[in-house]
Symmetry: C2
Subunit: 282 residues, 2 copies
């Protein structure tokens, strides 16, 4: 039975939002709603316009027999700025300061809206690059990896510092923790990452970059390729950072353990993504 335009638009919006970066043939919608392809094309033009106006994302059209549409989630400039500014304020809250100058983030990284936005922002940056998998290290990076993986619609893999029998055979590397100058070990299940995969590293907090550097070694061991490094927050680090090319959403720039205060500012995310925000202007 032919489905009305209003009904089609609602269900189509839901269908596309749930399948980012997935090519949906026009014939699929045409069958799903028992409607002519020309009507579906008109529907998609409306969805495309509204998604662009409301900065939900882009609706790409792939022409030809094997073509269709693809929804690419992208954050807009105002949304990104509002989130980054809001988070800098939240991270500056005094009661987040823990002994040793660490910052308590578990509440934010356990809140669905915050994770959704972190995922949208990081996914926006890598929208034009070929990411096959998102990589993080247990434990606190996992929610970020999962959220990014949803928006890019690729799997994520979890590197572990402890050996677990439920991972099967693993590949391990040693790495130097820049903060403590100790040698540590991390490992990843052998079957979790195919060779030549493009890998995006994400983590919750970066100090000296030792952990991220360890993941970079693991990527090499798997004959995979590093696409980029994105962290939610970076801390001040007095020594030489082991990683130079990375993106941070927030930067904790001052920690005074005597006065028990800390101060956070936007990281380099907004500056690095200026070009991406222009997508919606076209």
């Amino acid at each position: 039975m032919k489905v009305r335009r209003s009904d089609r638009l609602i269900d189509m919006t839901r269908y596309l939002l749930e399948r980012p970066h997935t090519l949906v043939p026009l014939t699929y919608f045409s069958r799903r709603y028992d409607s002519a392809k020309s009507s579906i094309s008109e529907d998609l033009a409306i969805v495309r316009r509204v998604f662009a106006q409301r900065q939900t994302g882009l609706l790409e059209t792939v022409p030809g027999a094997a073509g269709g549409v693809r929804y690419i989630p992208m954050a807009g400039k105002e949304e990104a700025e509002a989130f980054v500014t809001g988070m800098a304020k939240r991270l500056s809250e005094t009661d987040r300061l823990l002994p040793g100058g660490y910052v308590y983030l578990s509440d934010l990284l356990g809140t669905p809206e915050v994770l959704r936005e972190i995922g949208r922002l990081i996914a926006t940056q890598y929208v034009d690059q070929h990411v096959d998998a998102v990589m993080t290290v247990a434990t606190k990076g996992i929610p970020i990896a999962q959220s990014v993986s949803q928006y890019l619609n690729v799997p994520f893999v979890i590197v572990r510092r402890d050996s677990k029998i439920t991972e099967g055979s693993t590949v391990s590397v040693n790495y130097v923790s820049a903060s403590s100058a100790r040698i540590e070990k991390m490992e990843l299940s052998k079957r979790s990452l195919p060779a030549n995969s493009g890998v995006l590293i994400v983590d919750d907090f970066m100090k000296g970059g030792g952990t991220v550097n360890g993941m970079r070694s693991l990527i090499e061991e798997f004959d995979a390729k590093l696409v980029g490094i994105s962290v939610f927050a970076e801390g001040n680090f007095s020594g030489d950072r082991m990683v130079s090319d990375y993106t941070s959403i927030i930067r904790v720039d001052e920690v005074d353990t005597k006065a028990n205060t800390l101060h956070a500012i936007p990281g380099n995310y907004l500056a690095k993504n200026a070009a991406h925000f222009d997508h919606f202007k076209a």
Copy 2:
């Protein structure tokens, strides 16, 4: 400027899908689209009908001055059955069997579509109950907790077996691992769970139930209340299980380490949720 109905329906659908269980006042939409409340009411009636027909979820109306609409994600019967059957088949794949009778799940629990569906299914079960937080234990339960927390729109908390400085003060309990009969320790950041919270425990795999039982003790220590226990998969366990009232999506019923085969069947999820699937019939 007044926004057209077609445009309103698309943006409204997106807005509601991103904010499950959140009451949105009609006046909000009325202002957002510069449209009369009567038009918004008509829009919402269409969204409600399509969401029910396509088994996306329920759109609840709360009448009165403080009223509005609330989107409640719910999985339909066909969707749940198809997912459970498909997963039972995937879990029966021979190469998942690891030494010691363990089952490799990391690929499935790192795939966005699988996690989305697990989250939708578990959230459907607790739709009428008061859940304030989802709890899990690191590491493999985290993606499940996060997905459920998105659909219920409540925070999740991560219990840890290792002490981490970035968690601040913690509360810890000892628990007995039913599989190994060893005494272990788990802990949760003190500030992560307010007293009287309704807590839903989720995990990836349950054998003897020792870990889940440990989380139950932690909930008591926090003066919080247990709402339910849901796991993705349960294994066969020859001894007395420490937990009796739980829901499993999949059950691994036969593991033959000599022949290197395993067999999985649907868990008790479908039977336990028969009543929930009737929601869409009304």
